[in-house]
């Protein structure tokens, strides 16, 4: 007799599924985009038949009841006065995009859980729906080590607005307030993304954040953005559609067409980041954090690692925590955890710190590659990290596909490309020969948690790459490939508990190179999600400048060396 809680992210973009068992353990979580190899998987069902069937048979074989939990309480659109669109964003997004977003969410919500009874015939299924921001908050809370914290959710929009503040006490959440209406830092950043010539549909807000380091905020542009969205008592507010059009016109001198050189948008990107930080400060200021308080951040805006990295010191916080999947994919985990908590009579949220929640490499596919791949060299490493460290120190770029995939947008060593951060040319080589992306895009460092303070100013634990910090000036020159144009790095800290293999690799790499730091970027090529199958990873090995691929403990090299 066992109940399993299947959480589904039903925004219409970034669908994902998560499974929690009757003890509150988060057994599995993975975005649909990985399985489909379709970035953001717009319009795909989060309970995609074959994607869900695998983990259900593996983790829920004794199921006698399923609770399927959706990450929205309702469809966004509701009938209002004739001729008016009920969606919050209808006032500020053009009609085509507003309709497109709304209908994707409606479809995902109305059909959530459709495939579950067909996959597990005879097992009763109960459907439930949870508040969107509460789902964000639940995963932020469960992934954190804290007992008590402020929990701030900032995204594009939830059911009624874009900001919610919760108080977590003894790992239970209670909402303190939420904003209503279309004012939104998430939409403002999306607007800047479009004006920079990037596409929010592809989630290219990343590109704005990366590009910002190359520009300078233009006071007029920052003011234009801060007039478009302003904060009242922590709640974002905005004007009507015409104010967005006027702002677009006012920003024209710094805007960029998609065909223009990327650097043409650097000042606007810097202005957008500056406006975001100023507005986010006003939201954080309204929380009234006392010195030493803990802060949880969730929602898509919590992916802004440049901003996140500044918070702890400026607000004298005890610690800041961002979950590995703060955006809508993470809500699959949040919804499943809320369903579990409801059935447990409001029990404290469980501790779910590990981001390694996804699928594993298929040993049969690996065996096939070893037998039929015709690779120059195949080595069984048996978990020994020395050979990998020596290859890296010799300049090799290595794909790593070990164990369970990370949940969330960051590769944290299990689906990563790793390389030596010392050569100044490594960044260009990776962007050009492996990732196929713009030359300005930065790469992130991995460092042991105990070493982080020696290399960075003000760094705390950053196990999910959620915080950018400034490199110490005497250290940056040693690892130029992972120093961004503004002197920061979006670090991942590892400790023995979080990833033993990576810790051992860092130690061996330090032996071989003298630096305890590795460059880490996601195992994908531009425009595609992180790899899902061994075949996906082999395709990158054979079609890019990747030198080797480690699948679990098998090292596959293209050259005999």
């Amino acid at each position: 007799m066992s109940t399993y809680y299947i959480g589904l992210a039903v925004t219409g973009h970034d669908p994902a599924l998560a499974i929690v068992d009757a003890e509150g353990r988060l057994l599995f979580a993975e975005a649909t985009e990985r399985y489909l190899q379709d970035k953001r998987a717009w319009g795909a069902a989060p309970d995609h038949f074959d994607h869900l069937a695998g983990p259900l048979s593996r983790y829920c074989a004794d199921a006698t009841r399923f609770v399927v939990a959706a990450s929205w309480a309702r469809v966004k659109h509701w009938e209002q006065s004739p001729g008016e669109d009920g969606a919050l964003s209808a006032d500020i997004i053009d009609p085509v995009n507003a309709f497109w977003l709304r209908e994707h969410q409606r479809r995902a919500f109305e059909h959530f859980g459709l495939n579950v009874p067909r996959i597990a015939p005879g097992v009763p299924v109960e459907r439930r729906a949870y508040d969107h921001h509460l789902c964000h908050a639940a995963y932020a809370a469960a992934s954190s080590p804290f007992e008590d914290a402020h929990c701030l959710i900032v995204d594009g929009e939830g059911e009624v607005g874009s900001v919610s503040l919760y108080a977590m006490q003894e790992r239970r959440l209670a909402r303190r307030w939420r904003s209503w209406g279309p004012g939104s830092l998430g939409y403002l950043y999306g607007f800047v993304t479009g004006r920079c010539g990037f596409d929010w549909r592809r989630g290219e807000e990343w590109k704005v954040m990366g590009l910002a380091a190359f520009g300078r905020p233009v006071p007029e542009a920052v003011d234009t953005l801060k007039r478009l969205v302003w904060i009242e008592n922590g709640r974002p507010r905005t004007g009507d559609a015409s104010s967005w059009q006027e702002a677009g016109a006012a920003l024209a001198p710094w805007s960029r067409a998609p065909s223009d050189d990327v650097m043409a948008a650097a000042d606007l990107a810097a202005s957008g980041q500056a406006a975001h930080a100023a507005l986010a400060d006003e939201v954080v200021g309204a929380i009234a954090c006392a010195p030493g308080d803990n802060l949880l951040l969730g929602g898509g805006c919590a992916l802004n690692s440049s901003y996140n990295g500044t918070l702890r010191e400026r607000y004298s916080l005890g610690a800041v925590h961002v979950p590995p999947a703060p955006a809508d994919d993470g809500n699959a985990a949040g919804a499943a955890l809320l369903a579990w908590q409801e059935d447990m009579g409001g029990a404290p949220l469980p501790h779910c710190p590990s981001p390694y929640l996804g699928s594993e490499p298929d040993p049969k596919a690996l065996a096939g590659a070893v037998r039929h791949g015709g690779f120059a060299k195949v080595t069984e490493t048996a978990g020994d990290t020395r050979a990998v460290a020596e290859l890296l120190a010799g300049g090799a770029v290595i794909g790593v596909m070990r164990g369970r995939a990370e949940f969330g947008p960051r590769a944290l060593g299990n689906r990563s490309i790793i390389a030596d951060p010392r050569p100044a040319g490594m960044k260009d080589r990776l962007n050009r020969e492996v990732k196929g992306r713009e030359p300005y895009r930065p790469f992130a460092p991995i460092v042991a948690e105990a070493e982080a303070d020696r290399w960075f100013e003000g760094a705390g634990p950053s196990p999910y790459m959620s915080f950018a910090h400034r490199w110490r000036p005497d250290k940056a020159g040693r690892v130029p490939a992972v120093v961004h144009a503004d002197g920061t790095g979006r670090l991942q800290t590892v400790s023995g508990e979080s990833n033993r293999w990576l810790c051992a690799l860092l130690a061996d790499f330090e032996q071989a190179s003298g630096v305890p730091i590795l460059l880490n970027t996601s195992l994908n090529v531009m425009g595609k999600p992180i790899v899902h199958t061994v075949e996906d990873a082999l395709a990158i090995l054979t079609t890019t400048g990747l030198d080797a691929l480690l699948v679990d403990d098998v090292l596959i090299e293209k050259k005999a060396g």
Binding site: R74, W78, E79, Q80, S81, E84, D85, G86, L88, A90, D91, E159, V160, G161, W177, R178, S179, W180, G181, P182, R235, D240
Partner: protein, 85 residues
């Protein structure tokens, strides 16, 4: 506070917020008139809902103003939520 007093406070607050949105005098608003006919748009309804939630500390359903449609019925619904607390 008695339920009746709470309801009176609610109505006074609602009339004040509606009047500001429409641009009229609160005393001129008919408490049984359809909000949409009074000129309330969806954006007004959303923002007034948020103001009610903040002011009275009670969770407001996003569709409340459009289901209730009049000042008196909104006040009935919100005061019922308040007395259930």
């Amino acid at each position: 506070m008695t339920d009746a007093a709470a309801r009176d406070e609610l109505i006074a607050y609602l009339l004040e917020r509606l009047a500001e949105r429409i641009g009229c005098d609160p005393s001129g608003i008919d408490r049984d008139a359809d909000l949409i006919e009074l000129g309330i748009r969806s954006i007004d309804a959303v923002l007034i809902s948020g103001e009610l939630e903040d002011r009275f500390g009670v969770e407001i359903e996003p569709v409340l103003l459009f289901e209730c449609r009049t000042v008196n019925r909104v006040a009935d619904s919100v005061s019922a939520s308040l007395s259930r607390r």
